[in-house]
């Protein structure tokens, strides 16, 4: 049984059937990629997992519990962390503070009024955050203004923030979109390392085939809101249906 089970999910926006009878089964401690051409419904599907969108039909179960109808913060507290297409970090805060917030959230829950302690007096949280920064190779940037970092560093920080909560499922929405080649390769290395070193399930949406085939254990191809094929990477590469949907008629010919 998978950690994330998606059954018969459908979502309609006006006249557009964005998702139609989507079935997905993400096994624990694997990296599952969801690929597909533009407009296939990948991001819509991801938004259904995190409480941003409510599907019209179907169910989304995480570890045996439904996530539907819950708010994003509740879903996060269940153990799902999400990395966005454009890095979403706290730009006005320092890198260390960015890293401390998710750790506070993990320890104290959705709201706690700790208005009288000094934030840096919480030794175990500061140490945990520093440790995470070292893991992400950004210990030297701890005092930096997060908004002033490069795209690649922001991405690293965002991934680090998600990992600091020790989520069971990490959702990545095109983590290398708009990145230079070097940054992309760094991100791939980082994700590989995460996959190897941690007990974590990763679900990734990606355009870049290089990224997908370097990371994924299992691939689902989505086209026009419907899953086309689900298989291992080797089989996906040569699959005629996939080539047709994804790479276009000429490539298939």
């Amino acid at each position: 049984m998978g950690i994330l089970e998606v059954k018969n999910v459908g979502k309609r926006f006006g006249g557009l059937q964005a998702l139609n009878k989507v079935e997905l089964d993400v096994k624990e401690n694997t990296c599952h990629a969801i690929i597909g051409p533009n407009g296939a419904g990948k991001s819509t599907l991801l938004n259904c997992f995190v409480g941003k969108l409510m599907p019209d039909t179907g169910s989304v179960m995480f570890d045996g519990q439904s996530v539907l109808g819950r708010t994003p913060y509740e879903i996060n507290q269940m153990g799902i962390s999400r990395v966005f297409q454009t890095p979403e970090i706290f730009g006005d805060l320092s890198v260390l503070e960015n890293m401390m917030i998710p750790i506070f959230a993990k320890r104290d829950g959705a709201f706690r009024m700790h208005a009288f302690e000094n934030m840096f007096a919480e030794k175990e949280i500061v140490e945990h955050a520093e440790h995470m920064l070292e893991d992400m190779n950004m210990a030297d940037k701890r005092e930096m203004h997060a908004a002033s970092m490069s795209r690649g560093d922001k991405r690293r920080l965002e991934i680090g923030m998600c990992l600091s909560q020790e989520p069971r499922l990490l959702l990545l929405d095109e983590p290398t979109a708009g990145m230079a080649r070097a940054d992309t390769n760094n991100t791939i290395d980082l994700l590989k390392q995460i996959k190897d070193e941690r007990d974590i399930t990763i679900a990734i949406i990606e355009h870049d085939m290089h990224v997908v085939f370097s990371l994924a254990d299992r691939i689902t191809v989505l086209a026009q809101g419907t899953p086309l094929v689900e298989d291992d990477p080797e089989n996906i590469k040569g699959h005629p249906k996939v080539r047709e949907a994804y790479l276009g008629e000429t490539a298939a010919a």
Binding site: V50, T71, P72, Y73, N76, Q77, S81, R82, F84, E88, I89, F90, G91, D92, L93, E97, M100, I101, P102, F104, A105, K106, D108, G109, A110, F111, R112, M113, H114, A115, F116, E117, N118, M119, E122, M161, Q165
Partner: protein, 406 residues
């Protein structure tokens, strides 16, 4: 000290020093000189306003500076605090402590209700909601709840709520001479002052001022603690990226609501203090222009900085005071060195900027600050400090920034 780091301790000590020595600092010119009439600000009424509006803006800054939620109706809490305190003086007794306590509680409850409703929206919609609710409070206070002929006259409308001799005052404070009792702290009257003549200087030490100043210092200390706490960090995170907060497992709504209530309590405290200094509460304190002034003071000083609100409140009150004191006669004496025609022309022009026209000058100052110092007067101070430290560095090391253009 007191759980503050070194930098904050220094800042806090400076503010303590300034507050305690204010009667000296604000009275730099000898009594009776023409400069003293104009620029001395060391009299109780004005000094009290400095610290009380300081409290108000410190509280406002906890909401606006940290979370970025711009409340355009904060004067409502000031007014609610004022009315609560006066009612306490009327019903219970003339001690200021219970009055201030009630001000804080009542405005806190109102802040909870108003915040719960208006925080359903953010950005401009939140501002408009708070503005509308505050105007509603103003109108309620001005007419609906203040009809002197009705049985339920809560605010006494246009005249304002004031003390009278036949108020019940259950803790008693019988006046022997038929005069109204005065507000006091366990017997020390708020309006009593000690005057010290040193040469031609006259310094006034007022009980009400020192009481307000101590409360301001406590408020300032609490605000520093909040700024440096995990809670304060969460509030800054709300301002920075709410989306990330939600996806990090944090519920932003209670954080902002808590900030709103805290800042409402601060405003209520300021209102209670205003009434304690002068037990008269009018609806004009809740008018939307009063709310606007709070925003202006915060931005003038520097939003999101610790000391900014105090600086902004002081700056605004000080210039409001001296600008409104200048009249045409004073302008004529100042410009008497000019030829008559030119003098009259210039006085005629400046006439619009002083006296009743003080709004115009303050508006121009506000614009200049916004354009050249978007971070407020605090940013100006920082720039000056930087300028000096760079000069010092420049002597020690050659500038390292001269890299060839790429």
């Amino acid at each position: 000290m007191l759980g503050l780091n070194k930098k904050d301790t220094t800042l806090f000590l400076i503010v303590i020093g300034m507050a305690m020595l204010a009667p000296f600092i604000l009275n730099p010119f000898p009594e009776g000189s023409s400069l003293a009439q104009m620029f001395n600000a060391g009299y109780p009424d004005l000094m009290q306003r400095f610290v009380i509006f300081g409290i108000l803006v410190i509280g406002f800054n906890i909401l606006f500076g940290l979370t970025g939620y711009l409340s355009f109706g904060h004067a409502a809490f000031l007014g609610i605090g004022s009315y609560s305190a006066v009612w306490m003086f009327k019903l219970v007794g003339m001690n200021v402590l219970p009055a201030i306590l009630l001000s804080m509680i009542v405005s806190g409850v109102f802040a909870l209700l108003i915040g719960y409703v208006s925080l359903r929206r953010s950005g401009i919609y939140f501002s408009i909601l708070t503005l509308a609710i505050a105007q509603m409070c103003y109108n309620l206070a001005y007419s609906v709840l203040g009809n002197p002929s009705s049985n339920f006259n809560l605010t006494n409308g246009e005249t304002g709520l004031q003390l009278s001799l036949n108020d019940p005052r259950i803790l008693g404070s019988a006046t022997t001479d038929g005069a109204l009792p005065v507000t006091n702290l366990f017997g020390a009257a708020m309006r009593s002052s000690y005057q010290w003549e040193a040469g031609s200087w006259l310094f006034t030490f007022n009980v009400g001022y020192y009481f307000s100043a101590i409360i301001m210092l406590i408020s300032f200390y609490i605000s520093i603690r909040i700024f440096r706490s995990p809670f304060g960090m969460m509030l800054r995170a709300v301002k920075s990226n709410q989306q990330r907060m939600n996806y990090t497992g944090l519920n932003t709504r209670p954080y902002v609501l808590a900030a709103f209530v805290i800042s409402g309590i601060y405003a209520g405290l300021a209102g209670g203090l205003l009434s304690s200094m002068d037990p008269l509460a009018g609806a004009e304190r809740m008018h939307w222009t009063a709310s606007g002034e709070i925003v202006i003071m915060a931005i003038l000083g520097g939003v999101g900085t610790l000391i900014g609100p105090v600086v902004g409140a002081g700056f605004n009150e000080y210039f409001k005071n001296i600008l409104s004191k200048i009249n045409d006669d004073i302008l004529h004496t100042w410009l008497s060195f000019l030829p008559d025609g030119l003098e009259n022309l210039l006085v005629g022009f400046l006439h619009y900027f002083v006296g009743k026209g003080w709004h115009l000058t303050l508006g121009i100052m506000f614009m200049l600050v916004i354009i050249f110092l978007p971070g407020g007067l605090v940013q100006g101070g920082q720039r000056i400090a930087k300028l000096f430290s760079r000069k010092k560095d420049g002597q020690a090391t050659p500038p390292a920034t001269q890299t060839p253009a790429e």
